[in-house]
């Protein structure tokens, strides 16, 4: 059981940046007549943001980070660690966090590392950054979490393209012996690695010319072997059976008073499945904000995107008890409980 308690660390700020360009679900070419409306009704995603050519996840994360540290008044020399959490890496080598450190002119004393996680990324990221800061030797860390699914999915695949959006976020964390502990329940099931996978994308299956052929698998499902593919039914079955349970186990193990929780921040997978999770937990609707109608599923960025676009005022003013749950490729899933106190949350940055 990967239960984890991390003391001495607090979130002090969150920001997010998205492309200006919108992707309207009802105007996509992958759908047959009438399918777009059905998809919108079911998934809750009406539109999302689409990064132009040349703009990638790390660019949006960097924009979010620059604005955030300026607002917080952080000197760049005071940043001890930068962690980049994404499956949209700039290069196979070197790792993206180090590239960002260079571009942002952070000191060479800065610790940098990538955490290549998708939809469970924000929760897993908090466990990594929290663990680094908790000792008290490093005082300040930037956690950059984002994804540009548009760069790794096929525009002609109706099972994935319509509901995903691009975004980059930054979370600032500090060492603070007064901070309330963060509680984690972290899980993995690599036996289901094929549930969400881009087959020809690494060293296991190096990209060949054939991998670039666009293949029609079904009506509205055309992709090549470098694109991400998802076993929708497998992921659905997994989510229904494992995700509510993992949140319940976290609550039980750490004796969290559910009635006192201010917000349940679910990874914005799609409205249909998120509502199943919420109802299974019997968690009130008004405490479960959604940002997927206008930003879609932004992979690892969905939780900070919800914080920035839906509960900014509440996070800025006063304390909040928050449950988070991230789940996806791996398969990998995590539930986290944190308490925040008047954190800096910037308005959404659009580029």
């Amino acid at each position: 059981m990967a239960f984890l308690t991390i003391p001495n660390v607090k979130i002090i700020g969150v920001s997010a940046a998205v492309p200006k360009q919108k992707k309207q679900v009802n105007k996509l070419e992958c759908f047959a007549e009438g399918e777009a409306e059905k998809t919108i009704e079911l998934t809750g995603v009406r539109e999302s943001r689409l990064a132009p050519e040349g703009w990638v996840s790390s660019d949006y994360c960097m924009e979010a980070a620059e604005h955030l540290i300026e607002k917080l008044g952080w000197e760049k020399d005071s940043i001890d660690a930068l962690i980049y959490i994404s499956v949209s890496r700039d290069y196979i080598e070197p790792n993206t966090a180090t590239v960002i450190q260079g571009k942002m002119n952070l000191p060479t004393t800065c610790y940098t590392i990538d955490v290549p996680m998708a939809c469970s990324g924000y929760c897993y990221g908090l466990s990594v950054v929290g663990s680094l800061l908790s000792h008290g030797y490093m005082k300040r860390a930037l956690m950059l979490v984002g994804d540009t699914p548009s760069k790794i999915m096929s525009p002609l695949d109706k099972t994935l393209w319509p509901i995903h959006g691009d975004a980059g976020t930054a979370t600032a964390l500090e060492y603070d012996p007064q901070a309330n502990p963060m509680y984690f329940n972290l899980m993995s099931d690599g036996k289901q690695m094929n549930a969400i996978i881009a087959h020809a994308s690494g060293v296991r299956e190096p990209i060949t010319n054939e991998d670039l052929n666009m293949v029609k698998y079904d009506e509205g499902i055309i992709r090549n072997r470098t694109h991400v593919t998802m076993d929708g039914m497998g992921v659905f079955a997994f989510t229904m059976s494992q995700v509510p349970k993992s949140i319940g186990v976290l609550i039980e193990n750490f004796k969290i008073d559910v009635n006192n929780i201010d917000f349940l921040l679910l990874h914005q997978a799609n409205h249909y499945i998120d509502e199943k999770i919420r109802k299974k937990l019997k968690f009130p609707e008004e405490k479960t904000p959604y940002c997927l109608e206008t930003f879609g599923n932004t992979s690892s960025a969905t939780i900070p995107m919800t914080m920035v676009t839906k509960i900014r005022e509440q996070l800025k003013n006063g304390s909040n008890k928050i449950l988070m749950s991230g789940f996806g490729a791996g398969l990998s899933w995590a539930a986290v409980y944190i308490e925040t106190n008047s954190i800096e949350v910037l308005p959404l940055i659009e580029i």
Partner: protein, 76 residues
């Protein structure tokens, strides 16, 4: 739980299919309205009504309502 109740829950998932034409032996994959979405709805209905989670593999292999019923009953 009995098969009639199960059948009733199942038929409620459909919008355009005449419920009176469905029997436990109906191969639901032959129905015009059947779709991958209805497969998810079926799994979800079984989860909500009976607190049973079918695997994707089980859902893929089943063809008749009675087969789903037996799978569900075995897990209660």
């Amino acid at each position: 739980m009995d098969i009639n109740e199960f059948l009733n829950h199942f038929t409620n998932l459909f919008d355009d299919t005449d419920a009176s034409t469905l029997t436990p032996e109906t191969n639901f994959r032959d129905l015009d309205e059947w779709s991958s979405l209805l497969a998810l709805s079926t799994m979800s209905m079984i989860d909500e009504e009976y607190d049973v989670q079918l695997s994707a593999e089980q859902m893929r292999k089943a063809n008749t309502i009675n087969e789903l019923y037996i799978l569900t009953q075995a897990k209660i």
